[in-house]
């Protein structure tokens, strides 16, 4: 990102001379302005390119917006976005819970880790497509198989990250909980989860990005709704405007989730790390 770089460049000047209040407020706005300018430039390049080479394969931003408005008005857009989002959320929760439990267990038990480590490596290297096709063959073309296949794709990554987290646990806090007789729930909530939080955050971050891409493949191969299904539909009619409309709409939703849910939660979870002013 360019924004932090600009911030660092400003610092020596600010340190040598006490900056007035108006100048100090600027660095906090700068990243936002930079992001907006960067996105606007991308949009401009796209608009110019589509006017220079007008074709069905490269629709203008306005044409994509038309499709968005049309499908939003009919409700179709929200139905398919909703179905995809539901699958992303279900697969994410499933993968995080199963992966965390297995990962933490392996991180705490060396012998179990020695035994199951090759399994983890095997699953890490299974192509997503193979897992999806096998899930549909074995369990049928249903929601269970779809969500399960996505989760199984993500679980090995979660295991590897959470195993590292469990290995980094500080035994002193566990002993404290033993001496002061914490219940199992208190141990989980006040001892285990706060220590694992950075690892959970890392697994979630990479997880959401990976999962929604796999969900589209799952929908394309064996579902009759969702963004993946719509993209497959418009692929058959080479309707690039509609393909871009659905893709951008879902990217926007994932961005919103990141900004409205993931980042505020992380700020809340790490509030104790703030240094006193």
């Amino acid at each position: 990102m360019t924004a932090p770089g600009i911030g660092i460049d400003n610092r020596p000047a600010a340190a040598s001379k006490p900056a007035p209040a108006s100048k100090r407020a600027r660095p906090s706005l700068l990243p936002l302005v930079t992001v907006a300018a960067s996105l606007a430039a991308l949009l401009a390049i796209w608009a110019i390119a589509s006017t220079i080479w007008p074709s069905r394969a490269l629709p203008s931003p306005a044409a994509v917006l038309d499709v968005l408005i049309r499908d939003a008005a009919s409700g179709e857009l929200f139905y398919h976005l909703g179905m995809t989002l539901m699958r992303v959320v279900a697969a994410f929760i499933l993968a995080m819970i199963v992966g965390s439990v297995i990962g933490v267990t392996l991180g705490m038990r060396q012998r179990a880790d020695n035994f199951f480590s090759p399994w983890v490596v095997l699953f890490l290297n299974l192509p997503a497509l193979v897992i999806i096709v096998l899930a549909y063959i074995w369990f049928g073309l249903n929601e269970f198989a779809a969500i399960g296949a996505v989760a199984v794709n993500k679980i090995p990554n979660v295991i590897v990250t959470m195993r590292e987290g469990a290995r980094a646990l500080d035994p002193r806090y566990g002993e404290l909980a033993t001496v002061y007789r914490f219940s199992a729930w208190e141990r989980l909530r006040h001892i285990l989860l706060p220590q694992l939080q950075p690892y959970i955050a890392a697994a979630s971050r990479s997880g959401i990005a990976l999962i929604w891409k796999i969900v589209l493949v799952v929908e394309l191969l064996g579902r009759s709704n969702g963004v993946g299904f719509q993209i497959y539909l418009y692929f058959q009619t080479f309707d690039v405007a509609a393909i871009l409309a659905y893709t951008l709409a879902f990217v926007a939703i994932m961005l919103l989730i990141e900004l409205m849910l993931v980042q505020p939660f992380e700020r809340h979870a790490t509030r104790w790390r703030r240094r006193p002013a």
């Binding site: 002193r172 806090y173 002993e175 404290l176 001496v179 914490f182 006040h190 001892i191 104790w272 240094r275």
Partner: protein, 244 residues
């Protein structure tokens, strides 16, 4: 008050505690260690660094179960511990740290008096990273006394502090302890600290730890002024000429 002849709250009889490090020589930390602490007494386990004191305390706390012998703790009583490090949960405030250690039925109790005594009233909402080391240790003391323990175990709680802070904390400990009396056992290698705080000093040998003898300090703590402390030092040296 307990009836005469009631069992002592703490009786230790550790026959052997040996560590078996992977690929290393076995290391005997404790051999034939036996002593008891009487009800309401403040006792010190005094011994040279690395003699097995902390190991003994870990056995008492139930953190180490691989030993031969027996330890007897108060039946169903609560045990509080103050470790060498304050060991506060960094992600919980001072008050949350204290309340979390309390049994659920005690959690709603007012802690005002305890925080007042320890000078922590203004720090309740702070996170441990915002405390100095001295304040963090006070918070650890607050946590230990808040659960109203039937026995309090302290593992060199004032080590790695400057002497002035350490001394202030020793006085604070005495103040809280006299307000909330309980049976206490403190591990230390600091003779001065032991003479100042305890009713009885259990003197340990170098590793493997066993009891060299008992030193009773019968004098009430308020009379232990510098002159008296000097005399106590001398009589301790007379009785245990080869220690420290």
């Amino acid at each position: 008050m307990r009836p005469v002849g009631a069992g002592v709250p703490l009786r230790v009889e550790i026959a052997d505690k040996t560590f078996h490090p992977a690929g290393g020589e076995p290391l005997t930390a404790v051999r034939d260690l036996s002593f008891e602490v009487r009800h309401g007494e403040f006792a010190c386990l005094l011994g040279p660094s690395g003699c097995g004191k902390t190991t003994t305390l870990r056995i008492l706390l139930g953190l180490d179960k691989h030993y031969t012998g027996s330890v007897q703790l108060p039946d169903g009583g609560r045990i509080a511990a103050v470790f060498q490090e304050p060991t506060l949960l960094p992600w919980r405030t001072v008050e949350e740290n204290v309340r979390l250690a309390m049994p659920p039925e005690m959690r709603s109790k007012s802690l005002d008096a305890l925080f007042e005594t320890l000078g922590l009233s203004a720090m309740r909402k702070l996170y441990p990273s915002e405390l100095s080391l001295g304040l963090a240790r006070r918070a650890a003391l607050a946590r230990a006394f808040a659960i109203e323990p039937s026995i309090l175990l302290l593992d060199e709680p004032f080590v790695s502090l400057d002497e002035q802070t350490a001394q202030r904390l020793r006085y604070l400990l005495l103040t809280v302890w006299s307000e909330r009396p309980t049976t206490a056992l403190m591990v230390t290698h600091n003779l001065n600290e032991a003479l100042m705080l305890s009713d009885r000093i259990v003197v340990l040998s170098p590793r493997p730890a066993h009891v060299l003898g008992i030193f009773d300090v019968r004098l009430p703590r308020e009379y232990r002024n510098p002159q008296v402390m000097n005399d106590l030092h001398l009589s301790f040296r007379e009785k245990f000429p080869h220690t420290g």
